[in-house]
């Protein structure tokens, strides 16, 4: 029975894990400090107590964490593993790209690797260059891996459960700053939505803004500013990046003929570039050159003042929206 509860973004993920462990005996939850300590962000708190050996700590061995999940999944388990920071994924990328992504394809579907890898990313004040990258494009470049980025507490509940139910490897990229976003009403215990789709945060015809992850807040704020100026921007938030809601995005862009894409990842090779490319391939004629709002192609600095100078703020999005709206 669905029930409404007040949960933070992290607590909602915890509720999802608890439900998955309850409903599916094949689910395992593990990773560094995930078991007894309950996760460095508290997301797995209490699960070890309730589910015993199915929730456990591991050595600091990311390759073995992900690779063992792939192997266990090939033999009927449904592991949900944690990579504490997305930056640490990189020491285990082989297990994702060369191993997990190939299991279904090469075996022509006789074997599958239904694993869920939770991680978190994003820029936070004082986090160093090895703790603040946004790496979604790395995974999106790998066919066979699904990727989502929960934005709301409801997302963190729903997306995690649909990822666990998914028969493909899924990377769930949570966001560190969103963990501290306060409690929200979350519907728990109901049926879980199919993966994919988007959320229209604002409707409008002046321009289309497409965004995901923590950048959503800046985009919605910017759209509010434009609304006050009499320009209604359509804001499309896309918690699933693979599968990506191409039809809905292209329909909106065809309607507004003006496009801004905003993300916290670096510009070159970022997924924003893919959105622009698809619009071009679809032959949509734009009334203004499209704009990508992204981190310039830099390594990320630690000092808060320096990070603020490179990570787009709502003002940057506002500027981009004004630019595409004004162009004749």
């Amino acid at each position: 029975m669905p029930e409404i509860r007040k949960l933070s973004y992290g607590e909602a993920a915890n509720a999802a894990l608890r439900r998955a462990l309850e409903e599916r005996p094949e689910v395992l939850v593990y990773g560094e400090d995930v078991g007894v300590p309950g996760g460095v962000f508290g997301v797995t708190k209490g699960l070890r107590k309730q589910f015993g050996d199915r929730v456990f700590d591991t050595p600091i061995s990311e390759s073995a964490i992900i690779g063992s999940a792939v192997g266990a999944a090939m033999f009927g388990r449904r592991p949900v593993v944690e990579i504490m920071w997305t930056d640490f994924f990189l020491v285990a990328l082989d297990q994702v790209v060369n191993q997990a992504a190939n299991v279904r394809y090469v075996s022509e579907g006789r074997l599958t690797a239904p694993i869920t890898i939770r991680t978190q990313q994003g820029v936070a004040p004082g986090s160093c260059a090895q703790h603040s990258q946004s790496l979604e494009a790395f995974f999106l470049h790998t066919p066979g891996i699904r990727v989502c980025m929960p934005v709301t507490a409801q997302d963190s509940y729903d997306l995690l459960l649909s990822s666990i139910a998914c028969d493909d490897p899924v990377v769930v990229i949570e966001n560190r700053t969103l963990y501290h976003g306060g409690k929200q009403e979350v519907s728990v215990g109901g049926p879980v939505a199919a993966i994919g789709g988007l959320r229209t945060r604002r409707s409008g015809t002046a321009a289309t803004a497409v965004t995901w992850g923590a950048m959503s807040r800046q985009v919605v704020d910017a759209a509010d500013v434009l609304a006050a100026e009499g320009q209604e921007v359509e804001v499309l938030e896309t918690p699933w990046l693979d599968p990506f809601p191409w039809d809905e995005v292209l329909t909106s862009v065809a309607k507004t003929r003006r496009l801004v894409v905003a993300h916290e990842a670096n510009r070159t090779g970022g997924f924003g570039a893919e959105v622009l490319a698809r619009v071009a391939e679809a032959g949509i004629e734009l009334a203004a050159p499209p704009v990508r709002v992204a981190v310039p192609d830099l390594r990320l600095p630690s000092a808060p003042g320096l990070a603020a100078a490179v990570v787009p703020a709502a003002d940057d999005v506002t500027g981009a929206l004004r630019q595409v709206v004004a162009a004749r």
Binding site: E32, D33, V36, P37, V40, D57, T58, P59, I60, S61, S63, D87, F88, L90, V91, A124, P125, G126, S127, C128, A129, Q130, H131, P296, D297, L298, R299, P301, S302, A303, P304, G305, L306, A308, A309, V310
Partner: protein, 321 residues
Amino acid sequence: MTETETGTEVLLRDLCDMWRVRLLEEKIRDLRLNGDVVGSVHLCIGQEAGPVGACSALEPADALFATYRGHGWALARGVPAVGILAELLGRATGVNGGRGGSAYFSAPEYGFHGENSIVGGGAPLAVGAALAGRFDGTGRVALCVFGDGAMNQGSVHESMNFAAAFDLPVVFVCENNEYSELTPIRDMVRADVLADRARAYGILGERIDGNDPAVVRDRVGDAVQSAREGGGPVLLELMTARLVGHYIGDAEQYRQPGELERLAENEPIARLERTLRSAGTPEPEIEAARDDAAREIETATQEASAAPLADAEAVRRHVHA
């Protein structure tokens, strides 16, 4: 260390150097708690003997690679406290102009080739520094520091074997504080003595008292000398303990009752002071070691705090040549 120095003089200098690290760390803790420093901060309070002992066995041309728990290693290697503090405070005068922060700064001009925030990430770099030394003829030794938890990273195993295969002068220093983040190492590794893994690579491995700077200097000194003379890499496991959380804000729920009190008995500063006292060292000399350190850290803090914030314009430079 000069020929004429007495044993007591050396120990008093160790004491002062350990106080420098301790007081720097306490200052950083306060600055973090009042919000002047932001982000994750990992202190080495209780582990001061490792950096102080080991760095006193290195030559200026040697290369040190540390981890995110690296403030003490940087200071002991000769990086000025003011540059470290300014870095953590996001000042233009920080050793990396605010780019590195607490967990990822470097100061190569002092032979401090960086902290590393990726567990095990520094080991392959250290191998490379030693490899380069073979070609440039400097005889450079690379000293690579990591924790007990890092012993479970592939990069560390690959590096030890790589260095062993080519007899490269790398001294691998594992600071075993018995925890990797919030998890006791004994729950994650079957073998008791991590240094025993050295045997599997055909190199020397030894577990030593990591809370005695003289022991550390002695054993690291031997390892450095042997490595420099072509004897290949060595793995030293320094037994120590951090008296604080993994990071500032860690609730330390993993501690056993009475554990911190027990660890405090063996902490390196109190221990060395006891040793000096029982050897008859006059009290004012023991106090002077602390006072000198306190003055230095206080002055450095004031200077760092007065420096201008890092220049946001400069942030776009140095991505490419």
